[in-house]
């Protein structure tokens, strides 16, 4: 217990590090994931194939493998990060999470009633107009709860960065537990609380949004 109070500066820094990593890679994953989702429903064949292949491949890859690639393998290909830690983690998490963002958005698009798109087309809207004016505004609403779930998963996934030279909550857990073995339990529960502080409000928010946007189609 005393360890937790004494080392609180360190712990607070780790909490902020986790938050930063989550926020940066979350925003980037949303952008790239939306682009992927657009590719997957677009009328252009090669783009569709690319989106499908990307999602298939990345969803079946362990996140640790993704990190391993950017930290140990990419330098051999000439992709070198100025420093280890933050940016490789952002890239790995963004590329990984975007495939789940893409699937969440696509399932939202799939849930929009078929009549909506037909109505849009019948009044002469093009593909781009149908998608942006009619389908996406509705798909977006149904996609918010699964998107929040993806963000919750992302928050927990940032912990993998602990194994690749980024000092966030789990890395601090490892360091503090090694230094004060007898306090291991307190450290675990204290740090677990920091994750729950992020994930539980997000989960509650998702539940509320879902109740709010749940409407009969």
């Amino acid at each position: 217990m005393t360890t937790f109070i004494e080392e609180f500066g360190l712990i607070w820094g780790a909490f902020l590090a986790t938050l930063t990593l989550t926020a940066v890679s979350g925003v980037l994953a949303l952008v790239w994931g939306t682009a992927l989702a657009t590719m997957r429903v677009s009328p252009v064949g090669p783009l569709r194939s690319f989106g499908t292949a990307y999602v298939e491949l990345v969803r079946n890859t362990p996140l640790t493998l993704m990190f391993f690639f950017w930290v140990f393998v990419a330098p051999s290909f000439g992709l070198l990060f100025p420093e280890l830690g933050f940016w490789p983690a952002v890239v790995a998490l963004t590329l990984y999470t975007s495939s789940f963002v893409c699937e969440a958005l696509r399932s939202g698009v799939n849930s929009v009633g078929i009549g909506q798109a037909e109505a849009a087309r019948s009044i002469g809207l093009t593909f781009g107009q149908t998608l942006s004016q009619v389908v996406l505004p509705q798909a977006w609403r149904t996609s918010i709860p699964p998107l929040i779930s993806v963000l919750i998963a992302l928050t927990k996934n940032t912990s993998v960065a602990a194994g690749f030279a980024y000092t966030e909550i789990v890395a601090i857990q490892q360091r503090l537990t090694n230094a004060h073995p007898s306090d291991g339990f307190f450290i675990f529960f204290g740090l677990a609380l920091m994750y729950l502080v992020i994930t539980i409000p997000l989960g509650v928010l998702a539940g509320q949004v879902e109740r709010k946007v749940a409407f009969a189609r």
Binding site: S49, R59, F72, G78, E103, R121, S149, N157, G207
Partner: protein, 355 residues
């Protein structure tokens, strides 16, 4: 001709545009690939480093390299094989307690435990077991996997139990079974059946999460690759990584395919009882999962009709509104086909595009 409703069947101009776009993007992709390959060639990626796979340096034989990789894969599978059954058993137990227990004293703590276990990173649990309990790397990995996946399995089964028709439970209780026995004997087998695809997808997540063993020094596949790379030198990391990544992806894709296959079987043939797997909410397990999301692909093939992902093709005729027909009828027909041939399982399909 992809059948999507997002865009029209192409006319002559659209077809020409389509062809141009197809060629442009195909060429662009080929050009990018060629450029990357050339850049790699410049950096000497295609030199003799690949020989590590058949004629490795340092007086090692190819068999040594492959045997070490095989041992790593064996350890990966061992951790998954130990963790999966335990997680399923505990998860099932929690789901039964939450459904069948008559007092809040039992179901309350079970609910809180699942929520907590689901909200924590798997890696944190592994470190807890390794550093605080002092367990061996294998059992630390198993501990992390079991705690997290048991909670998720419990959530999946809870969603399945909640989706069953109420009559099942009432029937069980009315013939004098206790709530616990009703849950165990009558509801659980049906819940497992409809949630089987989700459960199999969860196995993929578990398999992917075994790679976290790399961080807690469990000698699984990824750690073996790292060890080989440390021994032979950094230039050999590319071939080794490629082999490892292919193994992971092939295994996971295989299991994902199994989940999709089961899902299709259930939807096409086994749905006769009028059960459809429920959508699992935001706090539920489907998109949210530790390090992996479940890798299931509904209609994940290029050219799939965008709106028909979870739907059987015969159930979506082009909806046409005939004079005198109400909007409601038209919609029902569009979803369920001709009302005269409407079968029971269509009836309970709910929102057809949903799953």
């Amino acid at each position: 001709m992809s059948g999507s409703v997002l865009y029209d069947a192409p006319g002559p101009r659209a077809k020409r545009l389509d062809r141009i776009l197809n060629w442009t993007f195909s060429l662009a992709f080929v050009a990018i690939a060629a450029w990357i390959a050339y850049a790699w060639y410049q950096r000497g990626i295609f030199d003799d480093r690949w020989a590590i796979l058949w004629d490795p340096p340092k007086n090692q034989t190819a068999a040594d390299v492959w045997m070490s990789l095989a041992r790593g894969l064996g350890n990966t599978l061992k951790a998954a094989a130990i963790a999966a059954p335990i997680a399923l058993l505990i998860g099932g137990g929690i789901a039964i307690i939450r459904r069948g227990a008559r007092t809040r004293w039992l179901s309350g703590p079970a609910a809180v435990t699942t929520e907590l276990a689901r909200g924590l990173p798997v890696l944190m649990l592994m470190f807890l077991a390794k550093l605080v309990f002092g367990w061996s790397p294998l059992w630390s990995v198993v501990f992390g996997l079991v705690v997290y996946n048991a909670a998720v399995v419990a959530e999946i089964l809870r969603a399945g139990l909640a989706a069953l028709p109420k009559g099942q439970r009432e029937a069980g209780l009315s013939i004098g079974l206790s709530t616990m026995r009703t849950t165990l004997l009558i509801e659980l087998p049906q819940a497992v059946r409809i949630m089987l695809p989700a459960l199999v997808s969860q196995i993929v997540v578990l398999l992917k999460d075994t790679s976290l063993g790399y961080i807690v020094a469990y000698p699984e596949l990824l750690r073996t690759i790292k060890n080989n790379r440390d021994y032979f030198g950094d230039q050999y990391v590319i071939p080794l990584f490629l082999v490892g990544a292919s193994i992971y992806i092939l295994i996971n894709m295989g299991v994902s395919r199994l989940a999709t296959f089961i899902e299709r079987r259930l939807r096409e043939g086994g749905g006769g009882r009028g059960l459809t797997p429920p959508e699992i909410g935001p706090t539920g397990p489907i998109p949210q999962s530790g390090v992996g999301g479940p890798a299931r692909e509904e209609g994940a093939h290029a050219g799939d009709p965008v709106f028909a992902a979870g739907r059987r093709p015969e159930s979506q005729p082009v909806p046409q509104r005939r004079p005198g027909e109400t909007e409601e009828e038209r919609r029902r027909q569009a979803y369920y086909g001709d009302p005269t041939s409407q079968s029971i399982r269509h009836n309970t399909g709910g929102e057809p595009g949903a799953r």
